[in-house]
């Protein structure tokens, strides 16, 4: 199949009498072509499987503008952890929902670091809630709740990172909430306490 009769018609110039066409083998070495073929196959195989983007599914709670405040379910202070996302990827957090202005919560700052970051804080809070469940202070229905309040100075990657932490640490209940002025003041106060900027 790979052979073709390409015996040239020219023949020998000086020859006398009958032309004796010289049969040249037309077998080409296909090895480089196969190499190239497989190289391209490898390329296409890798690009097809790796280029597929992954997605993170989020379900926002159903929001009805007509819903009255009394109908909204309240979160117990003891199960809640509030996380404030702020500038330069800083993460501020405090226990509870921080709605009592007379008793301001202790706001601490951390980062999305692998060690001693926000993850450790979430894990310890989770353990605390589990401990309270075991000791009967909380009912089995209570679940640790994380309130995520991204400030306007935070970036989208902060949001994805914190949502990812929720998945990583298997936090079942979490909500993204608009930041309030009170929380902004908390951040500012903590910044001042930590020496400005």
């Amino acid at each position: 199949m790979a052979e073709m009769d390409t015996s040239s018609g020219g023949g020998h110039k000086g020859g006398s009498g009958v032309k004796k066409p010289k049969k040249l083998s037309t077998r080409i070495d296909l090895t480089p072509m196969v190499d190239l073929g497989f190289l391209l196959i490898t390329f296409f195989m890798f690009t097809t499987t790796l280029a597929k983007p992954k997605t993170m599914e989020i379900n926002m709670p159903y929001k009805d503008p007509n819903m009255k405040d009394e109908e909204k379910n309240k979160i117990k202070n003891s199960v809640a952890l509030t996380i404030l996302l702020s500038k330069s990827h800083r993460v501020y957090y405090y226990e509870g929902i921080g709605e009592d202005p007379t008793k301001p919560p202790e706001v601490k700052v951390t980062y999305f670091s692998q060690k001693n970051g926000i993850r450790d804080e979430i894990i310890s809070k989770k353990k605390m809630v589990d401990g309270m469940k075991a000791s009967g202070q909380l009912t089995a229905k209570d679940q640790m709740t994380v309130l995520i309040k991204p400030d306007s100075t935070s970036t989208y990657s902060d949001l994805v990172n914190i949502l990812d932490e929720m998945n990583i640490n298997d936090v079942k209940v979490y909500a993204i909430i608009d930041i309030s002025q009170v929380d902004r003041d908390f951040i500012k106060a903590t910044e001042v306490a930590n020496g400005g900027n």
């Binding site: 070495d29 992954k54 990172n161």
Partner: protein, 215 residues
């Protein structure tokens, strides 16, 4: 026949068959590869451990770049055609057939509705240049307001294809308020379930998700 002399066999193998197979596979992969749709802007998505695949069809893609500009796109040429006809009628844009076709075969839209006609009548190369300086689809926190054009696009998009899945592809450095506007718009349109496009990263060991994955 004194002693048997093994005939020297040529070690040249016929490569034709192998070549055939290689190129057959190559053709298959080339045809099966779905090239990434052309992106108006370069977006570097953040990473997460989530490994849910982006669906192949029925995707509404909202791209947000670092500056917070929003680009709107849906897949499927026919659906795009229906969408632009719907928007054209709803907003009275007076687009002609050629401009609508330009939308159907085009990629993303990142211009306000009042610039849409001039954008679509431009040749494709010029459209790319416009994309560079395009202000993005205007949006707002109130979904139903007239100024929220993104809301109008999403509504029309979902009307033409109810199965659409909303995917937000935002740059990690996009500021939160810009993304939050989209989320607010979606919430206002009663879309509470959507996807964020992320890169895959490894699950950190020693965590709950890691233990789960090991099972």
């Amino acid at each position: 026949m004194g002693h048997a002399k093994l005939p020297r066999k040529s070690t040249n193998i016929d490569m034709t068959a192998m070549c055939d197979v290689a190129f057959l596979l190559l053709t298959f992969f080339m045809l099966a590869t779905k090239f990434k749709p052309e992106e108006p802007v370069v977006v570097k998505t953040p990473s997460s451990i989530s490994s849910i695949m982006l669906p192949d069809n029925d995707v509404m893609l909202l791209t947000v770049d670092t500056k917070g500009r929003i680009f709107f796109a849906i897949d499927n040429k026919l659906k795009r055609k229906a969408l632009i006809e719907d928007i054209n009628a709803a907003k009275g844009l007076n687009l002609n057939q050629a401009e609508m076709n330009s939308f159907a075969i085009g990629a993303s839209i990142g211009v306000p509705l009042n610039q849409l006609k001039s954008y679509l009548s431009a040749p494709p190369e010029q459209q790319k240049n416009i994309d560079m300086s395009a202000p993005g689809v205007p949006t707002d926190t109130i979904a139903t307001s007239e100024a929220n054009e993104l809301g109008a696009w999403i509504t029309s998009g979902r009307m033409t294809n109810p199965k659409l899945r909303v995917c937000i592809k935002a740059d990690g450095d996009a500021s939160y308020p810009n993304v939050s506007k989209i989320v607010k718009t979606l919430e206002g349109l009663k879309v509470f379930k959507f996807n964020l496009i992320t890169n895959l990263k490894a699950i950190p060991p020693g965590t709950a998700a890691y233990a789960e994955a090991k099972h």
